[in-house]
Amino acid sequence: MKKDIILCGVGGQGILSIATIIGEAATKAGLYLKQAEVHGMSQRGGDVQSNLRLSTEPIWSDLIAEGGADLIISMEPMEAMRYLAYLNKEGRIVTSSKPFVNIPNYPDEEALQSELDTLPSIKLDIETVAKDCGNPRGANMVLLGMAAPIIGILSVENLREAIATVFARKGEQVVEANLKAFDAGVKAGT
């Protein structure tokens, strides 16, 4: 079994933390993993993405092929659609519904939302959900929670354990706050 995932968003939104947690869970579960990241210039408020490949068999390429991704997980609705060429026939999109507008020519929001609705996507205002559960900086954990039941090759419990491991050095409170945001995402996504 294999899962090819594109994680995307705008530089600074915390997609690399999501990647770290999935990476930790995959390693613990004994899966093969390759994860190509974007560092450097694009991290300054530009579009960023990470190719995450998980498999029970050895993986060759660090990059996902066109038409190959099982899942796009996005912190931003327009960014979710930037990588459509990579989504496969049965592929799904899990995205934040809230636009991050830092460019003058951002598309019409209504048109953008309706186009997203024509695609195999689920979307959620993850920032509001994160705020509601008392962790305004945990929107990325809400998003990961939404995607968790769809990832398939890892269980929801695998990911919860990985969150605990990754945030352990920041203290029990941070772990709890992130798990709460994650659980809220799982609930909203199912």
């Binding site: 190509a36 993986i59 327009m78 930037r82 459509l84 060429a85």
Partner: protein, 525 residues
């Protein structure tokens, strides 16, 4: 033990565990994480492995060569264009030879994710007549460090290790070995004084070593042949191997190339069994050109030069699959509601205030030009500022402004960051002072090397002293704090210095907001 590591981290840990004594580097994407990993590694701290950032790639290369001379293992890291900066030292290190193992790590950036060109560092290895290693994955990157240091000491020559962005910045599990002790050889007793009479003899020695280098490639565990009953033969260099395997699995008829000089016998043997060869390499068509020479004009060789693969840009699973006749393809049509989202200066960044002030003053000078440089502030070329006329290489802002001023252009303004100024701007400023050039230099000082993630900047707290020492007049070294509330003062200072007929330096100084936030968080904890 398995560890999940970035390609860069695999290189760093491989080096530490191979008995490294010092890493010398200037930050540059995609190579920066190697040195950072060593700086933060407990064993490296315990052993006191040198890992402080250098002023530029040339000082790094020379210091590493000095460490090798003294009998220890040294690593020098840079992005591909850093090879241009250290080329003098690098090429001549092949003539002197080395004592302690010396690996020159060049991180190439095909597709220019964070760079201004696609130059291929394998050319440099060939130019200097030294071996080049090109890992195909994170494990090989790790393994090649111990292998490379051994090979370097055996041949008495530096080894180039070339990676590309996609390997440098991709994570995978790596089988990690036990750390070796640091290597302590005695200092070199060879002749290293490259006077012409001595250099001629040393050059002959380097030529004589070429057979041993070819032999090492022929026997290399990283070069291998895989056969299947297919008519097309493939030469897969570095990470190209992964894309070929992704497409063809075991149905590939190929030679995997991860060590140079080229394993000629393997290539000839493959060519004999096939009707044609397809060369798949990331970067420039280095191997494609060489193979034509090896096989002769009649043998069909395909690759980037023949259009079977794109002439520019990095390899992808898609363009490799297409060259192999196995097209991948998009299922969904591209989104209609889409816009480009280029990187931009952070909100609250001091460079923003500098550009606001510059644009305001220069609006009164229709013939003005602003010569830019390499760093976050290069983003001042994009909207909303659109303030720059050029950005060429590290330090070129000052010297190009000088040349333009020599030609009569006025006002000629240079803008350069603090780290870039100490990297390659100081010598150009001395030229301008000696010529009394009519230029205005803005050193936008954010107290860090910002673009690559906030590494220490070599000249912090020394900029006024450096400018005065180079001969800029005291009354024309002006310091301002780039904040919106200071706009009247900043614009007045810029206007005064543009009107001064000579070299003036304006230093807007305010800490990078990214490092400022990081320092604030660290304090809180």
């Amino acid at each position: 033990m398995k560890k999940l590591l970035l390609g860069d981290e695999a290189i760093a840990l491989g080096a530490i565990n191979a008995g490294l004594s010092g890493v010398y580097a200037y930050p540059g994407t995609p190579s920066t994480e190697i040195t950072e990993y060593i700086q933060n590694h407990p064993l490296a701290k315990e052993r006191g492995i040198h890992s402080r950032w250098c002023t530029n790639e040339k000082t790094a290369m020379e210091a590493a060569l000095g460490m090798s001379y003294a009998g220890k293992r040294a690593l020098v890291c840079m992005k591909h264009v850093g090879m241009n900066v250290c080329a003098d030292a690098f090429i001549n290190s092949a003539i002197t030879g080395v004592k302690g193992g010396l690996i020159v790590l060049a991180a190439d950036d095909p597709s220019m994710h964070s760079s201004q060109n696609e130059q291929d560092s394998r050319f440099y290895a060939k130019f200097a007549l030294v071996p080049c290693l090109e890992p195909s994955n994170q494990q090989e990157a790790y393994d090649m460090m111990a292998y490379g240091f051994d090979l370097s000491e055996k041949l008495g020559e530096p080894i180039v290790l070339r990676v590309v962005t996609r390997l440098a910045h991709s994570r995978a599990a790596v089988e990690v070995t036990e750390p070796m002790a640091e290597k302590h050889l005695s200092p070199s007793t060879d002749q290293w004084v490259l006077l012409p009479g001595i250099a001629r003899k040393k050059y002959v020695k380097l030529i004589e070593k070429q057979d041993a280098m070819k032999q090492a490639s022929a026997e290399s565990p990283f070069n291998k042949t895989e056969m299947s009953p297919v008519k097309l033969g493939i030469l897969a260099c570095g990470i190209a191997y992964n894309y070929v395997k992704e497409s063809l699995g075991t149905d590939a008829n190929l030679v995997k190339i991860s060590q140079y000089p080229l394993p000629e016998d393997k290539i000839k043997a493959l060519a004999e069994k096939c009707d044609e060869l397809l060369v798949i390499e990331d970067g420039q068509p280095v191997v494609e050109e060489l193979v034509k020479g090896i096989l002769g004009a009649g043998y069909p060789v395909k690759g980037r030069l023949t259009g079977d693969l794109p002439r520019t840009g990095e390899l992808t699973p898609d363009n490799v699959a297409k060259a192999l006749g196995k097209a991948n393809g998009a299922v969904f049509v591209p989104a209609k509601n889409m816009a480009a989202r280029p990187p931009q200066l952070c909100q609250g960044c001091g460079h923003r205030d500098v550009y606001t002030a510059l644009n305001q003053v220069l609006a009164d000078y229709p013939d003005h030009r602003v010569f830019g440089d390499i760093g976050c502030y290069t983003l001042g070329a994009l909207p909303p500022f659109q303030a720059l006329s050029s950005c060429v290489d590290m330090g070129a802002s000052i010297t190009m402004a000088k040349g333009a001023a020599d030609a009569g252009l006025f006002p000629a303004v240079a803008i350069i960051g603090d780290s870039t100024f100490t990297h390659s701007g100081m010598t150009g400023l001395l030229d301008a002072v000696n010529d009394k050039s009519n230029i205005t230099v803005v050193i936008s000082d954010n107290l860090t090397t910002g673009m690559t993630g906030g590494q220490d900047s070599a000249g912090t707290n020394k900029y006024e002293a450096i400018c005065l020492g180079l001969g800029v007049e005291l009354e024309h070294v002006r310091v301002v704090v780039p904040l919106p509330k200071n706009m009247p003062e900043i614009t007045r200072v810029i206007k005064e210095e543009i009107e001064y007929k000579g070299v003036s330096v304006i230093i807007p100084r305010r800490e990078c907001i990214q490092t400022f936030a990081r320092h604030a968080r660290a304090k809180k904890q």
